[in-house]
Symmetry: C2
Subunit: 157 residues, 2 copies
């Protein structure tokens, strides 16, 4: 018997909840910010919790750009092939959680949430040498408010 039926790629829009579920199961994503007309995108690790993505970073170009323009976009995906993938895109807003009395509750919550992923934090690992000098250990805690989320899943029919 000869299979004559064509393969067709189906692209399915995910519901908001299904899109959030993808984020909840992801750790690695890509974070885009912009300075004037120039976008910038980097990989980052995050933890999803109640409509926010929590993360931390040392100060650098990404943090400086997001402080100046808090509008960001986050993408997380599981790509098996060009025709089998799920991808979620968030339009969001950067919120820094500084070490101030007002931000203390959210900052403590973020630290607790992120410390569950101990491997990111092992003290030895946290020592990072860049350009032959040790990077400051002082982390910037931040979260991304999820304003809009969309998701798509592609499968072969």
């Amino acid at each position: 018997m000869v299979e004559t039926r064509e393969n067709v790629m189906l692209i399915e829009e995910l519901t908001r909840q299904a899109s959030l579920d993808v984020l909840a199961g992801a750790r690695l994503g890509r974070l885009a910010c912009a300075q004037g007309p120039q976008p910038y995108v980097v990989p980052f690790y995050f933890v999803y919790h109640h409509n926010y993505l929590y993360s931390f970073s040392t100060v650098g170009q990404k943090i400086e750009w997001m402080r100046a323009n808090p509008l960001v976009c986050v993408e997380a995906d599981e790509v098996v092939s060009p025709h089998r993938w799920v991808s979620v895109i968030v339009f969001g807003r950067y919120e820094e959680l500084p070490d101030t009395p007002e931000s203390q509750p959210e900052r403590a919550f973020a630290a607790e949430l992120l410390q569950q992923y101990a491997m990111w934090w092992e003290p030895g690992y946290a020592r990072t040498i860049l350009h032959g000098t040790e990077r400051p250990l002082e982390p910037v805690f931040y979260r991304i408010y999820i304003a809009v989320i969309t998701g798509r899943r592609a499968t072969l029919d």
Copy 2:
């Protein structure tokens, strides 16, 4: 014997050539564009050739935004863990390759280059159903001019 030496994450800056080599070996990346202050990032497949990234897409938000603002950022990486990864970031410029006499040589070159990756193109696969209707097959060919490229590699010492 007890190993008391700390693990230290070393971050090494890649040379321009080493960064281009990562791109040349990559197919999947993330492409960021921006409309006003809002960045947007999506996964995309590309082929590197002589300081350009070649790709194609159907018309949609990404193409419309890049037509209006050609400044883009591309990120490609191989992430093994938070402490073992290589990541390359390109600041570039979107160049569409329309079906016009002036663009014909570059467009034909792009089509030939991309057709080497036959799996992206198998006729059956190209039929895509979104929202229950078939998407137009007309591809937009484009390339990203690599204006600036940087790369970093993290390893555990």
